[in-house]
């Protein structure tokens, strides 16, 4: 059975990056449909669809939209913020969505803006996504020329401005309140909640924040009808998701699947399994911040509830396959280094804890750690978990603690044997986290030929 596509459906048989092609494929019909409805009806459709946020937390989008005050209930303008700051390691779905169906993203923004009666929508796009930014900008210009964006859209009387804003390379700006701070021109650091963005978000005004994939799904929901969309997938996890499959797998890439298929279906059935006759060792199911699953847990289903039961999360839908060549301590080091580098420095447990984690894991990997340090590492993780201002600290502590929990003997061998048992053969050997690689390069000497 061919997988059912929703997000990429219109792009399946044609290039729909141009406005005319997108319209020929049925694009912007959902916008027309929405504009003919009451805003509250649009939110009803979203509620009926059961669509949950595709950024990582999985909060039902319709409910989030319903938290915002109506225009007559607030003296402030209402805003939509689009999270296109896709930065979770292993995740590369939003970039493909922006590249292949840019108009669908814009259409989704317009419909959602209409639903909450936003005055402006701000797209916060990851700084490194230059091509994606240019594609989106071209699409936006086309839409502007056609009167689909701006004043009095399609004669409906509704007006909204869309602003594209490029980030400058900080993972934390993908956290919703960090994103808002950065949009306001401040240092990208998360805010304490409450107040929630739905009440006081961008410029202290009510703000809805949604991920690119979530918004790109919205026009399709209006086309299908919320209840029909809800029939896709499984209970509590309706619809489809675009999974980013990467790592030691034969056919990596983005795959849109109905929710509820198993990891085995994705990795073995679609991805072709681990190549070269090697064994699958572990799977990171939802981006680098999610707890790891072992080869024994390959039948876990790709939906919110199944993942939660397995002690992990669907996260951003980034499935990273790890084969038996990988040293889990080196993996922990790389992951911890990433989060240490990306910790914003605002709250204590994350700022200090992530640095300490890296130091301990490095000592374990080098064989310099004492017997107590594995438990110390777990305790440090415990003291980060649930105690930070935003989820970044958890994002560092959860996966590392899971590596220790599920591969404890491998960590223990590093300590007992005074070094890495892979003896230099690990697939991550010498592969440093980007930040440390950067420092290593900076130290390199430039040889000048005589």
């Amino acid at each position: 059975m061919a997988p059912r596509h929703v997000v990429f459906e219109l792009a399946e048989s044609a290039d729909v990056t141009r406005l005319s092609d997108y319209e020929r494929a049925g694009g912007y019909e959902s916008l027309r449909k929405a504009l003919a409805m009451e805003p509250a009806q649009v939110i009803e459709e979203l509620l009926a669809s059961g669509l949950r946020g595709r950024g990582g937390a999985g909060f039902p989008m319709g409910r989030k939209a319903s938290f915002l005050p109506k225009p007559d209930q607030t003296p402030k303008p209402i805003y939509l913020a689009v999270n296109a700051d896709e930065s979770e390691p292993g995740t590369f779905k939003d970039r493909e969505i922006m590249l292949r169906v840019p108009h669908q993203v814009i259409e989704g923004i317009l419909i959602s803006s209409y639903a909450i009666q936003a005055r402006a929508a701000f797209v916060y796009i990851r700084g490194e996504y230059l091509t994606e930014y240019e594609v989106l900008r071209t699409a936006l210009e086309e839409a502007l020329d056609r009167g689909l964006v701006g004043a009095n859209i399609l004669g409906s009387g509704y007006s909204v401005t869309i602003v594209l804003h490029r980030g400058a390379g900080a993972y934390i700006c993908g956290e919703e309140t960090g994103l808002l701070e950065s949009l306001e021109g401040k240092r990208g650091q998360p805010r304490t909640k409450p107040p929630f963005p739905a009440i006081a978000g961008l410029y202290a005004a009510p703000t809805l924040i949604n991920n690119v994939e979530t918004l790109a799904t919205v026009p399709r929901i209006l086309a299908l009808g919320g209840e029909n969309y809800a029939k896709l997938g499984v209970e509590n996890s309706s619809g489809t998701r675009v999974f980013s499959l990467s790592g030691n797998v034969a056919r990596p890439g983005n795959y849109e699947l109905e929710l509820g298929m198993s990891l085995r279906d994705l990795i073995v059935g679609i991805g072709g399994g681990v190549p070269g006759g090697r064994q699958l060792k572990a799977v990171i199911p939802g981006g680098s911040s999610t707890p790891v699953l072992t080869a024994d847990e390959l039948d876990t289903r790709l939906d919110f509830d199944s993942m939660a039961r397995a002690g992990t999360m669907l996260g951003s839908g980034a499935v990273i396959v790890i084969d038996d060549r990988c040293c889990m301590v080196q993996l922990a080091l790389r992951v911890a280094q990433f989060y240490r580098h990306e910790s914003c420095g605002k709250c204590t447990p994350c700022r200090e804890g992530t640095r300490w984690m890296v130091e301990i894991i490095r000592r374990i990997e080098q064989g310099a750690a004492g017997q107590g340090e594995l438990d110390l590492l777990l305790n440090v993780c415990d003291r980060i978990l649930g105690r930070c201002l935003c989820p970044l600290g958890d994002a560092a502590a959860m996966p590392v603690a899971s590596y220790v929990a599920k591969f404890r003997s491998e960590f223990q061998r590093h300590i007992d044997e005074g070094g890495c048992p892979f003896r230099g053969t690990s697939s991550l050997e010498g592969v440093l986290a980007p930040v440390d690689e950067h420092h290593a390069r900076a130290r390199a000497r430039i040889e000048v030929p005589a």
């Binding site: 914003c344 204590t348 003291r383 105690r387 930070c388």
Partner: protein, 734 residues
């Protein structure tokens, strides 16, 4: 008044406490006698940050520990702190362990050691041992971020109190955080020195020894010092302070929160100028001018005799010049000596505020909750009464409309036009440019009016406006005097006599002139009077100020050496406490003795000045005083060609005391003239370029600074750089 807020009841560590709805958890716990430890939480800095996580508590029904500082009391809430929750205790210990990971344990030679929140909280909530075996983070240290403040980035625990102060309270935007994560550091913007009027507050705010005072650094240990509660008498605000002494010397001055006056902030003049007490030219014994020998140090009794003799020879032809820094008791003694003992009746008062405004008194803190604030006058509020500027900023952040009308105001008005502005705003049909403001003032529930200019009649004009607006409860009108206790001195002078007088403005010889204080010595009118006087009796702290024309010089005292009463701009009487011993007799002792020789009984012991002042007579119509420098009348700025109307202001960082503190030199006003944007571009003058100001024969060369807020045709210069220039100047490129 609105109805009292709804009460809610919460349970903290099994204790039930009832608080008004909306009260923060930290404050609620305090009411129940329970401490929730904090580092970053400081309500005066704005909304809670929730960064340090020291305040983690368990809240029934919530799975994770919560930062108590970010929550407010909700009815029925059950809170457990480290005292009754193992989870909360682990959370707090964990946070302290994280903080201490990279904190150098150099407490023995840290200035904060002994009065350090990190030490205290570690003792109460922290781990007993360290589990960290790897290298601590290191930085270059200490880094001077200004001549006044040293930054130790290793000690910094990144609570962001200092940057929040800079950004959200003083709004100078100079302190920033750089880098990310464990590499985050505090720095000044672009590494420029932190030059701002309130910079020293970040030292008070720092919960560790990361920001220390270069003036106090390594000068004392907390267990060797005494903190004396007193009041700053450096400007008319009268901030409450702690004066720290060690071995009989003032080592530092700290803010002491008076919520109605200063909100716990203190400007750098109040904080750092105290070292003037130890200036090289500080007078410690009486000096007498003796024919053929010049100025000679003499015993106190001899000085007393000489003063007695000089004044007796003058008869009633005596004038006294006050500096406005005297205590009420000193001014009273001197006034009674002059008016009752000598029968003279002329004083030079630096300030003579109009009591008409007393009907509209309100605490300074009322400014913060005003809906509309109006500032009139030619002088910058920040330079004249700096804390008032902070209250105005707080008001604006809170949503108030803050409008300045003047030469540098949002609504431009020519110099000297403040009285006309008040009258126009009070009129039934104000001119076009003031109409919206007048409407807002009338419609507002709470209004704050501020007069910031050199015109003693300001109070009357402001009172006229206040009456027209029918200001009621919650509103206030404030006149900012020039000098710290100008208001109290004027009151003391008026209370001491009945109003006969001679005209000091003539040019006939004067029998004697009494100059009280260094600041009075700088008044050009005093210098002119001294030329006419046969005998000049001076009290002064500094030899270089007093030497010129005096016949007898008495060593003066600084405010930290005095007991007595000062009256601030609100009209609030506050008590000065002697922090350190003066070098000799204080003025009060001397003038009490002198007065007794003229048959006036003055109590040399400080009396309860407050009671004295309460019974002050109203001002009579024929005031026998020479008031502050004449206010300039409304003038229409010229602007044409290179002609400018010159506005001069008295910089906060000026005067005899500031000049004697080398660390404050960088805070003094630069030798520059501010020019309006339009005029500057017309004359092709850019910021930093040298320009010459001319009036008559006098010329001054200064650097230009373009200030787009200045009204066209107005140029502004700090008083000390405008010496000799007239009110109208011609400006051209040098």
């Amino acid at each position: 008044m609105s109805a009292p807020p709804e009460q809610v009841t919460i349970t903290i560590d099994d204790r039930s406490v009832s608080v008004p709805k909306g009260t923060g958890l930290v404050e609620s716990a305090l009411q129940a006698g329970i401490e929730i430890p904090v580092f970053c939480y400081e309500p005066r800095l704005g909304p809670p940050l929730g960064a340090c996580r020291m305040c983690l508590v368990e809240i029934e029904g919530l799975p994770k520990l919560q930062a108590a500082c970010t929550l407010s009391a909700q009815d029925g809430m059950v809170v457990r702190t480290s005292a009754t929750s193992a989870q909360a205790a682990d959370g707090q210990e964990g946070v302290l362990e994280f903080i201490l990971l990279n904190h150098p344990l150099d407490c023995p030679d840290c200035d904060k050691g002994g009065e350090c929140p990190l030490q205290d909280l570690t003792l109460r909530y922290g781990p007993g041992t360290s589990r960290m075996v790897v290298q601590k983070r290191t930085f270059d240290k200490p880094i001077p971020i200004s001549p006044l403040i040293a930054l130790d980035r290793e000690r910094c625990i990144l609570c962001y109190r200092c940057t929040r102060f800079s950004e959200q309270v003083a709004e100078d935007g100079q302190l920033v955080a750089l880098n990310r994560g464990a590499s985050s550091i505090i720095a000044t913007f672009e590494d420029e020195p932190y030059r701002a009027h309130f910079s020293g507050n970040v030292i008070d705010l720092c919960p560790v020894g990361a920001l220390t005072s270069t003036v106090y650094r390594f000068r004392a240990r907390p267990w060797e010092i005494q903190n004396v509660p007193t009041v700053c008498a450096m400007c008319p605000v009268g901030c409450n302070v702690w004066a720290t002494t060690r071995e009989g010397k003032v080592a530092r001055v700290l803010a002491r929160n008076h919520p109605e006056v200063d909100g716990g902030w203190l400007c750098d003049k109040g904080r750092f100028a105290h070292d003037h007490l130890r200036a090289a030219d500080r007078l410690t014994e009486p000096i007498r001018r003796i024919r053929m020998r010049g100025l000679v140090a003499v015993p106190w009794e001899e000085a007393l005799d000489a003063a007695d003799e000089g004044l007796r020879a003058a008869g009633a032809s005596v004038c006294v010049a006050f500096s406005g820094g005297e205590t009420v008791e000193q001014a009273d003694a001197l006034s009674r000596l002059v008016r009752q003992g000598l029968g003279a009746d002329v004083a030079l008062l630096p300030d003579d505020p109009d009591p008409a405004l007393d009907a509209f008194r309100a605490p300074l803190a009322a400014i913060r909750s005003a809906n509309v604030c109006l500032v009139v006058g030619d002088e910058p509020v920040l330079e004249r009464a700096p804390i008032v500027d902070l209250w105005l900023r707080a008001a604006r952040r809170g949503g108030a409309e803050v409008v300045t009308v003047g030469p540098a105001g949002a609504i431009a008005a020519p110099p000297g036009s403040a009285a006309a502005i008040c009258a126009a705003l009070a009129a039934s049909s104000p001119p076009e440019e003031l109409r919206e403001l007048a409407r807002d003032l009338r419609e507002a529930d709470r209004v704050a009016l501020v007069w910031s200019g050199d015109d003693d009649t300001g109070g009357r004009h402001l009172a006229g406006l206040a009456a027209a607006l029918e200001l009621g409860e919650g509103s206030g009108a404030y006149f900012l005097p020039r000098t710290p206790n100008g208001r109290g001195v004027a009151q003391a002078w008026r209370a001491a006599g009945d109003g006969r007088g001679i005209d000091p403005s003539g040019d006939e010889a004067l029998g004697a002139l009494i100059v009280s204080g260094d600041e009075a010595l700088r008044d050009t009118r005093v210098v002119a009077l001294a030329d006419r006087a046969r005998f000049v009796l001076t009290t002064a702290m500094f030899m270089n100020e007093a030497a010129g024309q005096s016949h007898v010089i008495l060593p003066g005292t600084g405010y930290l050496e005095r007991d007595g009463t000062v009256v601030n701009l609100e009209g609030r009487s506050q008590r000065l406490r002697r922090t350190v011993e003066p070098p000799g007799w204080d003025e009060l002792a001397f003038f009490a003795q002198l007065a007794r020789r003229f048959g006036v009984d003055v109590d040399p012991w400080t009396r309860a000045g407050v009671d004295e002042l309460a019974a002050l007579p109203a001002r009579s119509g024929t005031a026998p005083v020479v008031a502050a420098p004449a206010a300039r009348g409304p003038q229409r700025a010229a602007g044409a060609g290179g002609d400018f109307e010159l506005v001069r202001y008295r910089a906060l960082f000026s005067g005899a005391a500031v000049e004697r503190v080398p660390q404050l030199a960088f805070q003094r006003p630069a030798a520059e003239v501010e020019l309006p944007g339009g005029d500057a571009s017309r004359l092709h003058i850019a910021t930093g370029e040298r320009v010459v100001l001319r009036s008559g024969e006098v010329s001054r060369e200064l650097a230009a600074r373009v200030n787009r807020r200045l009204a066209p045709g107005v140029a502004r210069v700090a008083e000390e750089h405008a010496d000799g220039l007239a009110d109208s100047v011609r400006i051209e490129k040098a």
